[in-house]
């Protein structure tokens, strides 16, 4: 790793002052599980790290049945998983946290860092940029090893997949995210935080270089049936191939509204209103869940070597729906 300056502010105001207004100059350090890899691989080479772990107000989980759940950006994935209120009211989120292995990663990695982690696209990690293009501007992904790339939202120029396992359940619950920067606080739906970059100058997050994520706010539980289902190649030490998180509003046996979000299949967590629509006014059966899975991948397309992911996403959606109504049963 290259020599670097280090600052460890106590307040978010100090942190923001220590951050530069252009990308590449400085970097926010939370748990470091992604940032240190980026530094070691020379994907980024900032001159200063700003450690935010000493900022007390970014910690803590608070729950109020009327206000919902507040997660400080520094809550670790292990703290999230250990909280009985999260498990009871937001099972899709607890199930996604459980999938992030190892325990060591969960002890260090934070919720804010999970949302802000950079894509695992191996061209990006090898220094070819977010859009992974060669000197002539041609996509390396389209002509190369795209086994783990996007099957949705892959019209280009971005083909990587969003790496966050926590974003899909947060979006299914309509969570909001707060940022703090020189201009004060900004708030947006978690969904709006993710975007598909159109040029190498753009990022995959609606985040400015001198902003920090401060907290995530999840609306109060509305008695929804919810679950996450992940398809993984290895059970630990790897990211999923495809996931689905669902939150179903129920009137008895009947679905009144649904949110279905797929992870690791597109450059952003992929919300599928088409799939959700097929569930409205239905009672969940295997066939109904299957049809929702079909609808979720209707617009999916293979890049050549990742066609198998279409089937995985279809199955993830189906199984997440079935798991949600079976009350979290495996």
């Amino acid at each position: 790793m290259r020599p670097i300056e280090y600052a460890s502010p106590r307040t978010k105001e100090q942190a923001v002052r220590l951050l530069a207004s252009t990308w590449g100059e400085t970097a926010v350090l939370a748990g470091g599980t992604d940032l240190l890899s980026l530094l070691k691989d020379d994907v980024i080479a900032p001159r200063r790290l700003v450690n935010i772990k000493e900022i007390e107000e970014l910690r803590g989980i608070a729950f109020d049945p009327r206000k919902g759940l507040r997660l400080g950006a520094l809550v670790t994935i292990e703290e999230l998983l250990d909280d009985p209120r999260v498990r009871q009211h937001y099972s899709a989120l607890a199930e996604a946290a459980e999938g992030i292995r190892s325990p060591q990663i969960r002890n260090m990695g934070t919720v804010g860092g999970d949302l802000c982690q950079r894509p695992r696209c191996w061209y990006f990690r090898a220094g070819f940029g977010l859009l992974a293009r060669d000197a002539q501007g041609r996509s390396l992904v389209l002509h190369g090893d795209n086994r783990y790339h996007a099957i949705l939202g892959n019209e280009g120029p971005a083909y990587f997949v969003s790496p966050s396992s926590l974003a899909p359940p947060l979006i299914a619950y309509e969570a909001r995210l707060r940022l703090f920067g020189p201009g004060g606080t900004r708030e947006m739906p978690v969904q709006a935080f993710f975007r598909i970059p159109q040029s190498e100058e753009e990022r995959e997050h609606d985040l400015r270089p001198n902003e920090i994520v401060t907290e995530i706010l999840i609306p109060p539980p509305r008695g929804e049936a919810s679950a996450t289902y992940e398809v993984r190649q290895r059970e630990a030490l790897d990211w999923p191939l495809a996931t689905a998180s669902v939150a179903l509003q129920m009137d008895g046996d009947r679905v009144t509204a649904a949110r279905i979000v797929m992870g690791h299949v597109a450059p952003i967590p992929w919300l599928s209103p088409e799939a959700a629509q097929t569930l409205v006014n239905k009672t969940i059966t295997e066939d109904v869940a299957q049809a929702a899975g079909e609808a979720a991948v209707r617009r999916a397309r293979s890049l050549g070597r990742n066609g198998y992911k279409i089937q995985l996403a279809r199955v993830a959606v189906k199984r997440a729906i079935l798991r949600a109504v079976q009350g979290g049963a495996r």
Binding site: T33, L49, Q104, M108, A236
Partner: protein, 167 residues
């Protein structure tokens, strides 16, 4: 290169060090404190051999800067034994031949210690989950899991004995 003075508490001993801030905890433990029991593997969070305990929890020393963990309680494999007496986990690993090349073992022992400290009677599934971040390329894991079970039984028996003696 800018050096910074830092204070690290490792295995109960306080060390004052002057180090460049970009050094990882793993590098400082091995190169500055000469505690070479902590091993250097993938460097990317994918193998677990660099695991140390910070305030009793397993973390990866390859993904932490030493400056970040000042004034915390750091335990490495060198701090596991009680003077000349090996920890029950070390004893069980030796008896059952749970170490082959041994490269993964320091991290595995510490992760297992953290598990037994907060869950003295883990099920086999709980042991597997706790150790899911400690890759071993030699043993196939069976003996490692059996050794953790044996250590857990012994430690529980010792606790029971100590409690009955105190009554």
């Amino acid at each position: 290169m800018d050096k910074q003075l830092i204070t690290l508490r490792v295995n109960g001993e306080v060390h004052e060090l002057a180090i460049p801030v970009h050094k990882t905890l793993l590098e400082v433990l091995r190169e500055d404190l000469h505690l070479t029991g902590t091993k250097h593997g993938c460097e990317l969070g994918e193998c677990g051999t660099c695991t140390v305990l910070v305030d009793g929890q397993p973390v990866l020393s390859c993904l932490a800067l030493a400056v970040e963990w000042q004034h915390r309680d750091i335990v490495t494999v060198e701090g596991l034994a009680d003077g000349p007496r090996p920890h029950p986990l070390q004893q069980a690993f030796a008896e059952l031949g749970a170490a082959q090349c041994g490269y993964c073992i320091p991290g595995t022992l510490l992760t297992a210690k953290a598990l037994l400290d907060h869950n003295p009677r883990p099920t086999r599934q709980e042991i597997k989950e706790a150790l899911s971040g400690n890759l071993c390329r030699c043993t196939g894991y069976i003996k490692i899991i059996e050794a953790v079970e044996r250590a857990a039984q012994r430690m529980a028996a010792q606790t029971a004995f100590a409690e009955s003696a105190a009554r």
